[in-house]
């Protein structure tokens, strides 16, 4: 039997199964589609340093089947019935999803459970698929924005594994064995680490029944080297690096600040608002000043990425190399202003409305809802996801001023500059 966890406002329902697995379910009777999105707390931060890249490589190997399902069989089960499937790995999670017609769920859900719980990781497939991952790594090196962002992450996270590339490196991947991957799988792919989000045209009783039946046959946990991420000491200076890249047409200015993780979710949301204020839309401060008025950049963006242990606040611009210093100084001034001058109510209202509408616009489809619940449940709890609009609406200028002073600074940040060779 499963135990009910959920409170009132939450439109979905969370269940904890006896084995410790969490199911989040939302019934959308009008849609013929069902999305099953399985989130595993086994991203790159779970890897010991020497195993860097293991979580992502395992995500590939999951699709190589089990003793019952030969490589490729799972893909055919889903796609030949008109469904879609894919997966992704980040620092905090790996997740695997299918979108399928409701009537096919009795065939597609068991197949998804089978590959996740019973991954065989055959040695010959391991060697072959590693070539694919090496190609994936090679492809990222041809993308200057990825190269720059990775260098920036390594610079700002010198201790925490958020600084390591999720894909790992060729040399480290070549040292790993199928046996080690099986240990990693059996250690982390356990019910207490897993959230199954099911959204769409399926009633709760049926969803529970399917999940209880097929997400039950877990192997006993294997032992595996584990890793507890170290907290990153705060930045005390401007940490600057400059890379010269071939084939680069425009310079890049990439600046980053660390911000609180999920345990201070409200602070994180406040910084999300400040990021919009700085560089989302033509009326935002930096786009207006740098793209429209002074015309110093080709483009400028600001992003707030919520992560479990430590979030990242970034500002990145593409520009002519001759404007690098001036633009960096202007961004610094904009940060100072956030620390000293309370936001005009009108600006705050614009950012609040924009983020609340973004939330509404990005929770239309079942796959968006399932992804949001699964993600939040992996780094905190699913119910928190839906508090976002209310939280955003409740910010006042004073609190944001305080957050800017606490987490942003024109004197303490990491900056990576890319210049053409």
């Amino acid at each position: 039997m499963s135990q009910l966890l959920t409170t009132y406002q939450f439109p979905a329902t969370a269940f904890k199964l006896d084995n410790g697995l969490t199911l989040i379910h939302q019934h959308l009777p009008a849609t013929p589609v069902v999305v099953v999105d399985v989130w595993v707390k086994a991203g790159a931060i779970a890897e010991p340093d020497q195993w860097s890249g293991m979580a992502h490589f395992l995500e590939h190997m999951i699709f190589k089947g089990t003793e019952q399902l030969e490589p490729g069989a799972f893909d055919r089960v889903i796609e030949n019935r008109g469904g879609m499937t894919n997966a992704a790995t980040s620092h905090d999670y790996a997740h695997f999803f299918i979108t399928t017609a409701a009537q096919h769920l009795p065939e597609t859900l068991p197949a998804l459970a089978e590959i996740l719980l019973q991954a065989a990781i055959p040695a010959d497939e391991f060697a072959l698929e590693r070539e694919v991952v090496l190609e994936e790594i090679r492809q990222t090196y041809d993308n200057p924005d990825w190269v720059g962002f990775q260098a920036l992450s390594e610079s700002i996270y010198q201790r925490h594994p958020y600084g390591r590339p999720v894909l790992g490196t060729s040399s480290k991947l070549l040292e790993r064995s199928p046996e080690e991957m099986r240990c990693f799988h059996r250690f982390h792919y356990q019910p207490h680490n897993m959230t199954v989000a099911i959204v769409g045209g399926i009633p709760a009783e049926e969803a529970i029944k399917l999940v209880e039946k097929y997400f039950s046959d877990f192997d006993a946990p294997a032992s595996c080297p584990t890793y507890t991420p170290e907290a990153e000491p705060p930045l005390t200076e401007i940490r600057r690096q400059e890379l010269r890249l071939p084939r680069l047409e425009q310079a890049r200015l990439m600046m980053a600040w660390t911000a609180p993780g999920v345990e201070h979710l409200r602070s994180a949301y406040g910084l999300d608002l400040l990021s919009v204020l700085l560089a989302e839309g033509r009326t935002s401060r930096l786009i207006r000043e740098l793209r429209e008025e002074k015309q110093l950049v080709q483009s400028i963006n600001s992003a707030f990425s919520l992560q479990q242990d430590s979030s990242l606040f970034t500002i990145t611009a593409s520009l002519d190399p001759e404007h690098l210093d001036q633009v960096e100084a202007i961004v610094g001034d904009a940060i100072s202003e956030l620390q000293t001058t309370p936001l005009p109510t009108k600006d705050l209202a614009r950012c609040q409305r924009l983020l609340c509408n973004d939330y509404a616009f990005s929770t239309e489809a079942p796959c968006q809802l399932a992804g949001m619940y699964g993600y939040y449940n992996t780094i905190a709890s699913a119910e928190l996801a839906v508090t976002y609009p209310e939280q955003i609406k409740s910010f006042q200028p004073k609190e944001l001023l305080h957050l800017a002073s606490q987490y942003l600074s024109p004197y303490r940040y990491a900056v990576t500059i890319l210049k053409p060779c």
């Binding site: 009008a30 893909d75 055919r76 008109g82 070539e131 033509r282 009326t283 239309e364």
Partner: protein
């Protein structure tokens, strides 16, 4: 044996009206969320750009939101952003598009703004200058991506004098010569009510949607002169070979075949073949070249829907030392479709995949507004939503093979990668 599957998608009721001035309205009521999405399509994509002015429609898209008779660039942005709406413009090959998305209560205001932008833009000289300079930077930035380098070359090789030979950005040379007067002229010629489709979906009754649109656009007079038909050079298949040396980690191998336009019989068959080859984890190229041989991370096929001759493209990124076998592998997989028919199981699986994903592509309001408006603007009509499904279901293995034989003659080949890896390769036929 593969079974036929059906998505019992509830068919949305599509309301279609033509206003007295010739403007077509398509409305789909979808009360699921408090959102309205609209797509305003105009027959003014880059296909209509005069020779030597590639990039004009794209520049127009960038500048049209930067000043009207009543509003400055700043005021326009403020009207949109202060209510958290989105309003975007884009120039595709076959149409020009203005997209809006709002919560329902803000829809009328933003639609009003869209009307002002489309009907009385002023193209201020200073904004033209800024956006032209940024467009040129964007063109240069495209060259940072090996895929873009390859695809640019492929387009030029296949389309030569036809406007499809350029990306919508245009080229540095053509964009440098564009000016405000040319934007005015292009706007005056093509932005007229009988050349526009407005398609929307969301929490609004169809009759209210039509009223709202009539209020903003109903008094827009059709100019007395009819639009003159567009005469474009015919495009003929012609094999070619390009090797572009770049200091990259991977080689990009790309093959393109001139392919049926959306009006031709072969269109749905080639859609099916492109699904078979390149769509999803169980697609033929993915299984044969990635899963079984480990040659690539990204390997795929695409066949865009086009008013004029389209292109059927297969490509992959691979380690430089694998360039030759990647090329051979891609080519063999494509040509295999001409040599032998698919078996029944492969055919049915591909149909299920194509139609299943087609149904999945109609979930959000934006997707609904997009697809019906698009069918209308490219002349297929909203009925095509059903016709497409029946046509795909009816394809036989023999018909698919015949379409393959007609399409996959001699490819245009493009290789991008380290000189040592690509220079020594030569086309077997050229």
């Amino acid at each position: 044996m593969q079974k036929k599957v059906h998505f019992s998608e509830p068919v949305p009721h599509i309301h279609r009206t033509v206003l007295a001035n010739g403007l077509t309205v398509i409305a789909v009521e979808n009360p699921a969320a408090d959102i309205i999405a609209a797509r305003i399509y105009i027959r003014a994509g880059s296909r209509w750009e005069p020779k030597g002015k590639a990039g004009l429609a794209h520049l127009l898209a960038a500048v049209i939101t930067k000043g009207t008779e009543k509003l400055s660039a700043w005021e326009i942005a403020e009207k949109v952003e202060s209510v958290g709406a989105s309003l975007g413009t884009d120039a595709a090959s076959d149409y020009f598009l203005l997209s809006i998305k709002t919560v329902s209560a803000d829809f009328a205001n933003i639609l009003n703004l869209a009307g002002e932008i489309l009907r009385s833009p002023t193209f201020p000289e200073s904004e033209v200058e800024l956006e032209r300079r940024l467009a040129i930077q964007d063109i240069r930035s495209q060259q940072e991506q090996p895929f873009s380098i390859a695809f640019d070359r492929l387009r030029q090789a296949m389309y030569r004098d036809h406007p499809y030979s350029f990306s919508s950005l245009g080229t540095e040379e053509t964009v440098a010569n564009l000016n405000s007067a040319q934007l005015q002229e292009y706007h005056q010629t093509y932005f007229r009510p009988d050349n526009i489709i407005i398609s929307l979906a969301g929490r609004i009754a169809p009759e209210d949607a039509v009223d709202a649109i009539a209020q903003v656009f109903g008094d827009w007079q059709v100019p007395p002169t009819p639009l003159s038909p567009l005469l474009l050079p015919a495009v003929l298949p012609q094999a070619s070979w390009s090797a572009i040396p770049q200091a990259t980690q991977q080689s990009i191998v790309m093959l393109g075949y001139l392919a049926a336009s959306v009006q031709e019989e072969d269109y749905v068959k080639l859609k099916l073949l492109s699904t078979y080859l390149g769509n999803g984890l169980s697609s033929r190229l993915f299984v044969e070249l990635r899963e079984k041989r480990g040659l690539a991370y990204e390997v795929s096929a695409f066949y865009p829907t086009r008013l004029d001759a389209s292109q059927f493209v297969v490509y992959m990124g691979t380690a430089p030392e694998n360039t030759a076998i990647a090329l051979e592998g891609l080519r063999a997989e494509v040509e295999r479709l001409s040599i032998a028919p698919l078996d029944e199981e492969e055919l049915q699986a591909s149909k299920n995949k194509l139609l299943g994903q087609y149904a999945l592509g109609k979930q959000t309001n934006s997707q609904l507004a997009q697809i019906f408006g698009w069918y209308e603007i490219i002349g297929l009509g909203i009925e095509f939503d059903h016709e497409f499904v029946s046509a795909v279901s009816a394809i036989t293995t023999a018909e698919a093979q015949e379409a393959a034989i007609r399409c996959f003659v001699e490819p245009c080949v493009v290789l991008v990668g380290p000189e040592t890896a690509i220079a020594s390769l030569v086309s077997p036929t050229i």
